[in-house]
Amino acid sequence: MSDVEILAVTGLSKSFPGVKALNDVSLSLREGEVHALMGGNGAGKSTLIKCLTGFYSSDSGKVFLAGKDISSLKPDQIQTCGISTVHQEVNLIPTLSVAENIFLGRQPKIRGRIDWKTMNSKARAVLARLNLDIDVTQMLSSYSIAIQQMVAIARGVDMSARVLILDEPTSSLDLKEVEQLFSVMRRLTAEGTAIVFVTHFLDQVYAISNRISVLRNGHYIGTYEKADLPQNALISKMLGKTISDKTDSSTKKQSQDQDEKEVYLTASGIGKSGYIEPIDLKVHQGEVIGLAGLLGSGRSEIAKLLFGVVQPDTGRLYVQGTEQLFSSPRKAIQQGLAFCPEDRKKEGLIGELSVKENIILALQAKRGWYRALTGVQQEKIAKDFIKSLKIVTSDLNKPVKELSGGNQQKVVLARWLASAPSFLILDEPTRGVDIGAHQEIVRIIKGLSKQGLAIMVIASELEEVVDISDRVIVLKDRKQIKELSGDEISEANVLSSIAEGAL
């Protein structure tokens, strides 16, 4: 890292109707540094990034790249200036090939026309830097989200000349892939590229970054050398209040007597060939059951089988003692199941609809459309959940896509809670959510299980699964390999059973 300033932001402000998203924000970026940009949900990180990349035009303030004012340039002009961005959640074109996504807008040319051969081989080379070997001529949509995320990163990495902005790049990646990404980041900074790194994983911030800037509610709080800012200090700056230590995770699990609780759902040998090996599973009322395993181990697949998204070809499913066959999620919802999917943008929320409409959607579907909720009822339900889950929105009728990531997640949660389910499946409930909201969601989940709700939680962060679950099912390579309960539940045990693996 040198002391040469490459990017400077001064006095940047941006308002949306009803919200001041950025208020007099300043930032300075040096050549060859990894600069972590931290802040809670709605702190203005994504807005700041969209202003830097020309996607939003700011109300006031300037952005300088190597001394040149770039505040009023358009996204494509800013890209050619040498600022490239990997946006939060995959923002690529699903219908184009992988190679095209990497080279869109800057395709290699030969005699004036696009040179597909060179483009494909270059794309393979770029992905190889991230140790990814896939068919680059296939449509992007035929790959998993994790791979799509890697492709987005590959594009950003390949383009970055001077500044690379990574907004939540690691949220879909597993540990090994994160390591790959970090080694690429180190290589880039050694070549002089400045990297802006946004993430909610504090450990990653401390593993890779040189300096940390903090935003809170659209205000710039400060920039600090990593060494001068211990984790606790960072968290309190992000939240605006001092907090004791992380969570009260030490509360020992006391709910060992599962047998006394009533069994809500039993899956016996349920599976689908090529999708997930048959699994056995019992879920009790008032119990949080965790699914642990690496990316691709079959966690989400189990949820989709139970919820009727995918039909099993073997096994039986019993809900409260009677055999059920869910041919569609609708049937599952009618039986009291609820499912918050992993990819909230694609499978969960309807961005154009308002916060209120998104919240009442599942309840309305469960009641049937001929028993419509009245406007007053809708408003009351929505208001209750906005209050109890502390959803930050200027009003009920705001389109949900305008909310920050964490608040969107809470809206999904609110929707399923509004339908008063008996069994709630949460796939990555805290992905893309900041610490404050994270703790709150964990607290809400625990509270719900105390009220007798059966809950299944899927999370990549082992710490979270361990913290939250009464029982943990460990998965590996689409097989159920172990079940841990009570005192056995610890990160070490989960890891060692994955490591031992075989059954």
């Binding site: 923002n91 184009l96 869109l104 807008g105 449509m139 035929s142 890697m150």
Partner: protein, 329 residues
């Protein structure tokens, strides 16, 4: 085979099957003449459909093309017959005006974020009305230039012939394929149709791309209108009623997704040829009403949109368990 080529392959297969059926059924059907006539008779539809392919690829729609053809026909006839202008002077004027009209529609769609359906519906009414204002009667074109165009053709073995209309169509086709696959603006059209918001985030100039698409489409519709006058020797304000829907049908049968982002210009040509070959079969038969063409096209559309749905759901099935593939090697 790569999944994305299945609709295209299906379209080509249907065309060959229909052509084979005709050849088996009627003696002189299997000939170069019948084949090249398909191009001559449908050149105007094919040129329109090529423009429509770009519009649909970008995620839009253009309903004004049928009216554009009628309006261009009438305007051309009036300028040549009443104002005594040479056709070669008339054509550039017409093409420039049409392109400006298209960019005006594109501007409204882009600048005010209006749905293309409504904007081009307005364009459709406007142009149809305009052609009636210019002339209610059909105007015959008697200029000698038109005779020489009709007389000119490149002979092919087997009584085939490449007429001026066919040559224009083939030039447009070659240009369209080149633009779609070998230029940035072409790939930007696919990107905008695939996901407009992501395209903007990736630095694609979305506004300029849309402007280009609607301008180019109106240009091609006007060119089709001119080619149509070669065919009919007249301009008539009631001409090409509902042609925009034939064009859209050809595009969809050709394997382009109505939601945008996926499809091929070549597929569209086969979509047009399928309509043409059905018409030819019906005229060879002689006993069937020519409206049977519409019945077949309707059936084909049902089949093709179902096929597309099956394929895209097949992609989904592939997508769900796909993290099974080795991520890191």
């Amino acid at each position: 085979m790569n999944n994305k080529y299945i609709p295209l392959a299906a379209t080509i297969f249907v065309f060959m099957a229909l052509f084979g059926f005709g050849s088996a059924q009627f003696d002189s059907f299997f000939s170069m003449r019948v084949f090249t006539n398909l191009f001559t008779d449908n050149a105007f539809l094919a040129i329109t459909a090529i423009g429509m392919t770009f519009v649909i690829l970008s995620g839009g729609i253009d309903l004004s093309v049928g009216s554009m053809i009628a309006c261009v026909g009438v305007a051309t006839a009036v300028l040549i017959e009443h104002y005594q202008l040479h056709p070669l002077v008339v054509f550039p004027i017409i093409l420039i005006c049409a392109t400006l009209f298209g960019s005006f529609m594109g501007f409204l769609i882009e600048k005010y974020d209006l749905p293309p359906f409504i904007v081009t519906l307005a364009g459709m009414f406007f142009l149809r009305g305009l052609s009636f204002v210019i002339s209610i009667e059909s105007i015959p074109i008697t200029h000698s230039f038109y005779d020489s165009i009709a007389d000119f053709y490149i002979p092919l073995p087997g009584n085939g012939s490449l007429t001026v209309s066919t040559l224009i169509l083939l030039t447009v086709l070659a240009g369209a394929v080149y633009i779609a696959h070998y230029t940035r603006i072409g790939r930007n059209i696919y990107a905008v149709g695939g996901n407009e918001q992501s395209a903007a985030l990736l630095g694609v100039p979305v506004g300029r791309t849309k402007l280009f698409v609607y301008s180019a489409n109106s240009f091609l519709a006007a060119l089709a209108g001119i080619v149509f006058t070669f065919y009919t020797f007249s301009g008539y304000s009631l001409a090409a009623m509902g042609l925009e829907l034939d064009a859209i049908a050809s595009v969809v049968i050709g394997g382009t997704l109505l939601s945008g982002g996926v499809g091929y210009v070549v597929g569209t040509i086969f979509g047009v040829l399928i309509q043409g070959v059905i018409q030819t079969i019906i005229s060879f038969d002689g006993t069937l009403n020519s409206w049977w063409t519409k019945i077949f096209i309707g059936l084909l559309l049902f089949i093709f949109i179902s096929l597309q749905r099956l394929i895209s759901s097949g992609l989904l099935l592939k997508w769900w368990p796909s993290d099974k593939k080795p991520l890191v090697n």
